[in-house]
Amino acid sequence: MNPVSLNYRLFFAAALWGMLWFAPLRVALESDMALHMIVQLPTLALTGFLVAIALRSCEPGWLGQADWLGIPGVILVIFTTTFWMIPRMLDVALADPLVDLAKFVSMPLMVGVPIGLSWPRMPVLGRAFLWANFIPKLGALGGLYLAAPTRLCAYYRLDQQATAGWALIAVAVALGTAWFVVVFISWPSERSEVQSCRARQEAP
């Protein structure tokens, strides 16, 4: 990657992060549970992801060795996302700007960056395993939010919680469909080998 496009990507990631931290947008996104969970948190992770793919070539060798098959990286992502999914932590992040800052730092550095660095190291089947687990769990979480009779966050209304539930289900369906298309339609499969075999037989 040439230095110009590298700087461009880093600048874009930094601008995106700064925009999210900028008070009016931050307050607007955090005032709604669905926007907080489905727009702000993933976009924060995206900023880290952009930095990681921009700097991938500069990654020190020891990190690549220690992050064997991307396993520690993926575990770090799972723990960090779980941590910010705890309703109490969403409340604390809303009440205390320092905790919100911790969220703004950890989502890019401990979710986005490890995804960018560890994902390519993972075996294909490992990635498929993670997708296949992540998508239904997201939908199930949405279902739980819909079914919960009480508010989980002191700062969000019950109807916002239900909207967040529907939004999580919608994201799960969209991801599931996209993944289905990729896995069943786009990926090369044995079918092409069968065809080539037939082609070989028909050849004189």
């Binding site: 020891w62 060795q65 396993i71 520690p72 723990f79 960090t80 941590f83 508010r151």
Partner: protein
């Protein structure tokens, strides 16, 4: 697979588990309300000496109840849903504490957080609706905005607009002991439990 992999894996796993244990108070709670209830049970909280005005115009503070057990809830009189339940709940509690409330050592106090709309007349009407008679069941509101902030903070009540001109707030019944300390948060939907805890407390 190198030694650095196991070091990194161990680091990520232990830090992750520790962070989740911290956020959920040892995997016991996921909401801020649950965290608060647990914290109060562990170490009772002093209640601030904030000035209140009741439905008869009498000025009082929670510390005036010293020597008696007090049940506190937070309401606004226009509330169409949860405060009506709370009013009903307190009515049940009152009935179960015994008809001879004068002989009971448990008092009830409903505090309105809607300073703008709840004047003395509104408090009086709310009291009449549920049969609240001072001094055993006072419907009061903070004497000034500062007292309101003090009380909401001390009891951990978070009030947010419901978007329809009303409010949404976390509802609990707060048990204040004879020494004026907040000792327990109780479920407003379980009057039997409220009665049991408050009678136990008043017999100590």
């Amino acid at each position: 697979m190198t030694r650095s992999f196991f070091v990194l894996l161990g680091l990520v796993l232990s830090a992750g588990i520790m962070a989740l244990a911290w956020a959920t108070d040892g995997f016991r709670i996921v909401t801020s309300e649950g965290e608060r209830a647990l914290a109060i049970e562990r170490s009772p909280l002093a209640v601030p000496d904030a000035a209140l005005v009741d439905q008869d115009g009498d000025v009082l503070s929670i510390n005036d109840y010293s020597g008696r057990t007090l049940l506190v809830d937070f309401i606004y009189t226009r509330c169409p849903t949860i405060c009506t339940f709370a009013g009903d709940g307190f009515q049940h509690v009152l009935a179960r504490l015994g008809k001879d409330t004068a002989g009971s050592r448990v008092d009830l106090l409903s505090i309105s957080f809607d300073l703008q709309n709840d004047d003395r007349e509104a408090l009086k009407l709310y009291g009449q609706r549920f049969g609240a008679v001072a001094p055993h069941w006072r419907i009061a509101k903070p004497a000034d905005p500062y007292s309101l902030v003090l009380l909401l903070k001390a009891f951990g009540v978070i009030v947010i607009p419901d978007g329809l001109g009303g409010f949404v707030h976390n509802s609990a019944v707060y048990l204040v002991d004879a020494r004026g300390r907040l000792v327990r948060m109780l479920d407003p939907d379980m009057p039997e439990q409220i009665v049991a805890f408050s009678e136990h407390e008043s017999n100590e």
